[in-house]
Subunit: 342 residues, 4 copies
């Protein structure tokens, strides 16, 4: 059985487990005020070349999204997001549960936002019977594997700043975005161009945890109280700091993302050689083959995957996802087995 | 240095770490729909003799409290809680952030609620300009080490049922409550007498995690969507199931709670022998010595603890907490060192 | 100057003012528990042939929408609404501020929902990572003058009941909908086919006030506490009961709606005769002429209206609205003046 | 029958009704952007000597309280209020429904707050596991007729400013507070010493309406969107402006408050002469006689009043309230009838 269901289906990278084991018996102060979190926050600030940034260790992605957004916004303010944005579709109304409207905008299949999506909304919402758009939510990579270039993010950032909008980047899959071919962004670029973003741990080697980087000092105040209010303060907070330290101190985070992307790209190329087209080419660790429905019963015996949607009456879009735990051999094996089938 | 600051200052019990390590490389389905969580939920239902109960694995205590309470209540309904209840004092307004008023009632120093606290509130709130009390929140043990007997919990439960009130028991420190001398409650009793309660993992051997048991079937529906909305669904959900399995399958959970209580009681007895009185006797793993202020600078060099409050102009109440990671030798050592000092 | 800006730009119908004056010096019990509200609620139940219904007098439309929806829903439940629904576009995020997501669906220009809009959303939301759709929000008439027939509302109602969805009808302009040519619904039909709806006062002759009719007994409980919580309890509650009594007891409500519709239809016909097309034909008291931009400066001197949007580079959609206070002479005068201009 | 139940049991002062009648047929622009509201806001700014203030016309007291408080606060911020504060006891959890905790503090029977109530809370809440107190809520007059002097309000204001707290004054009964003997505050004083307050209309001669004065410019932004979101924008907004203009332009507001206070004080004096003591002397339009239970059945036939609470086993505290609609003759008549009874 080959595993391509998602990038959060094994525990954690062995180095992370080792780091957690090494500190397991130590007595550490709680709630994230420990030395591990402090050092790791310093490391992240340094990687981001953002000495003014605050770093907040959170437990998961949905929590990071709604806690940050609700902390940054006033009650009458709303969020511009792609229709495909994770906050709009897969978080059970978490953002609305904090009281804020999402102004969802239809994008190209890659799920990326551009100023052309944003400006008409800003214009329409000058009417004070509507909410005031105050924050633009994007993901890098997007849900469908879209990756922002530096030029694109710069343009978006300028558009936001000119229009009084905050720019928030959901980085649940930031590692793989940065390891992908089209990427030319550094962490420092992202820190400069956004007001807040996060470095996803859950989907790139950690047991759990996201590192939220709030680069705009005006947004940092009293964030601890906000985290506490939303259940985002882990009593044993150092457990997240220790994991991110293990991932970031020697570049492991980026190496394992590279592995995930490489294996996914190898698989994508191989499938295309076998005549299986993609819904759209994705440069990241998620790929979206369009397979004949007749293949699905066989595929289910070979590997795990997710059904993404119907392509046409006889074809289905499926999703393969790779992670640090996906060896190249899995891709190779799957390709051979599919070749044998077809 | 002896460690008595709290019961969540080391990683996890070695057996828990071992269990996590054993499954670390396995591919498991996410969001808590895995086999480990299923088996562990069955085990908990069986320990509680409550086959109808649903078991929800949550990440932390604050999150469990506000997610459950908000799931159970309608917008105009409120919560009766002791003033000293964790939801009222130490969760940064998390319950109110979900829209519900806490009707806080002053209790005796042990923090325990009785029908006499509840009935006048029910009476007053018949006025429809007020919120409608719908849920009674208690903790076992309370913040000050109060422990409910079976007679007390039965009386409270009857009072709630007669008055249309749900009874919710915060069990962040349930292990130590049940290991304490005054306790005569079983898990099955608690399941029968409450509508929902939780078995705390964070403060009794787990890295993180609380097992919420919803015994009232009317409260169980769509709880997954509620968890997701409040960031309480861990992507790698099996990590909590695996931990609780390690703790519960052979009674480890109760053994380590017993150790914590025994060491705390030994320390409490020893301190009293040294002429140091308690704010009030506590039968659990938390004790509250009243020490001369002049002792504090010396104590800080010997051990970790928390300042609980001012006793009088020359004395301070401090809190010592024990856990699975507190050897009897620590209590012994501290007692000897204090004896030397005084 | 002719007035066509909206249907809430004069105080109230003279008969309503007279009724308010007649009771002005009386001492009446507050908060809507008075005899006027009771009698008027009985009258409405009788008009609706719905003896089981509760009638709640509210102050305005936005308030009625969010208070009712938030009362009816659990935290994880969401609302299906047309994109053009008032709650989605013109209430400053009021529904989201109570914590609920709106699942907005694009409709035809008439703004009407059909089962075909609803079923795919129900299907998609079986995924528990999404909110659970629980209520369908429609307006009669819609924002663009769409009016439901009995067959359409019946079909929608059946679809809702089969799928566990509540049906809520925003009746801010219900009077004009019912006075329009395509309408074949009675109040009794609407009461039978929906779970709750309201009879709009503000836009049909009252100073302020909407009469919410909750026909489903399961939704009625503790609604007073909910109203109080959301500022919807007028201290001098009888002021709304008295107004609705004046409007409903002898059919004045329906007569003035008929006048508004008749004048609007007369104007629509006249404009079309003058070669001015409509964005779409509307059978109600709102019409949407498409005028050359060059006409606008002249029109501004003749009458009040609202700009609805751009039609093309040289044409603008405007909105004319009539009310009880729009004499046929205004329509006649405006038509003559426009004829003179063109 | 003499009427002493409350100060909102008749429609409105005849001059207010006349003003409403005078504009009834006029076409006016909606949502409070009309000339009447503009002029009346200017008048209020001038009375308050606060040219920088914004004036927001609201519909009722509960709505004003929660809309303003929620607009001013960030999610983790809380409100210090007397236990007897209207927001804490009689608004069905409206403030909590917007997500904010009320830190209720026990006061003397007069319901007034002093710095001594506030400072310990500020101190305790330095712990970031708690909410951050950010606003102090007071009422003038309080629910039990307490009235602030200029010295007291100045001291409170200084305490707030030194501690980063906003000061909000609920003026539902501000007219009677200012007409009372102990008062030495002017509107200009109140505007200077608070960050926001309101001039109550509902309880002093208007049909409905409160005039919220936001003196701190930092709190004014986008308040219209906030009002809209909370149902506080009346479509026919000028109806409130017109009423306040009628009340304020020639001092009618203060004259009718004076009448209410004078009659209440006359009644209080008379009752004391008859040997009926007060729960506490109140200088406003609300008084609190302690009557033998045996008197109640007779009293019910003579006049309307509210039961305030039990005094002892044989006595009850009742409340008499006067308004612009209470002639001195009513007090005289009631005193004579009680004298006859006793």
């Amino acid at each position: 059985m080959y595993h391509f269901r998602n990038d959060y289906s094994v525990g954690c990278h062995p180095a992370v487990l080792e780091a957690l084991s090494a500190v397991n018996a130590e007595h550490v102060i709680g709630y994230g005020s420990d030395q591990y979190c402090k050092e790791c926050a310093d490391l992240i600030r340094s990687l981001c070349k953002a000495p003014q940034a605050s770093v907040e260790f959170m437990i998961g992605g949905t929590q990071t999204n709604f806690t940050a957004l609700a902390a940054f916004l006033r009650p009458w303010e709303s969020i511009i997001s792609p229709v495909s944005g994770h906050i709009n579709g897969h978080e059970s109304g978490a953002v609305e549960a904090t009281g804020h409207k999402i102004l969802a905008v239809r994008t190209a299949a890659n799920g990326k936002l551009t100023p052309a999506h944003i400006l008409p909304i800003v214009e329409e919402c000058k009417d004070p019977h509507l909410t005031k758009p105050r924050l633009v939510y994007i993901s890098d990579a997007t849900e469908t594997g879209g990756v922002y270039t530096k030029a694109e993010l710069t343009e978006l950032s300028l558009c936001c700043r000119r229009n009084g909008l905050l720019l928030f980047l959901d980085g649940a899959r930031l590692g793989c975005a940065m390891a992908s071919l089209p990427n030319d962004l550094t962490l420092a670029d992202i820190a400069e161009l956004t007001d807040a973003f996060y470095i996803g741990g859950t989907k790139n080697g950690a047991m759990m945890g996201e590192a939220l980087v709030i680069t705009d000092p005006a947004l940092q105040g009293e964030f601890f109280r906000m985290k506490k209010q939303h259940g985002a303060v882990l009593a044993k907070g150092w457990l997240i700091g220790v994991q991110f330290q293990a991932l970031l101190k020697d570049g492991l985070y980026f190496q394992i993302a590279q592995n995930a992307v490489d294996v996914a790209q190898y698989l994508q190329g191989g499938l295309k050689n076998l005549g299986i087209p993609m819904m759209a080419d994705s440069p990241t660790n998620q790929i979206f083959p369009v397979v004949p429905n007749s293949l699905l019963p066989h595929l289910e015996k070979l590997c795990t995957y997710e059904v993404w949607g119907k392509a046409d009456d006889t074809h289905t879009v499926i999703r393969f996802v790779t992670s640090f735990a996906t060896p190249l051999a899995s891709a190779d094996g799957l390709l051979k087995d599919i070749k044998d089938l077809t």
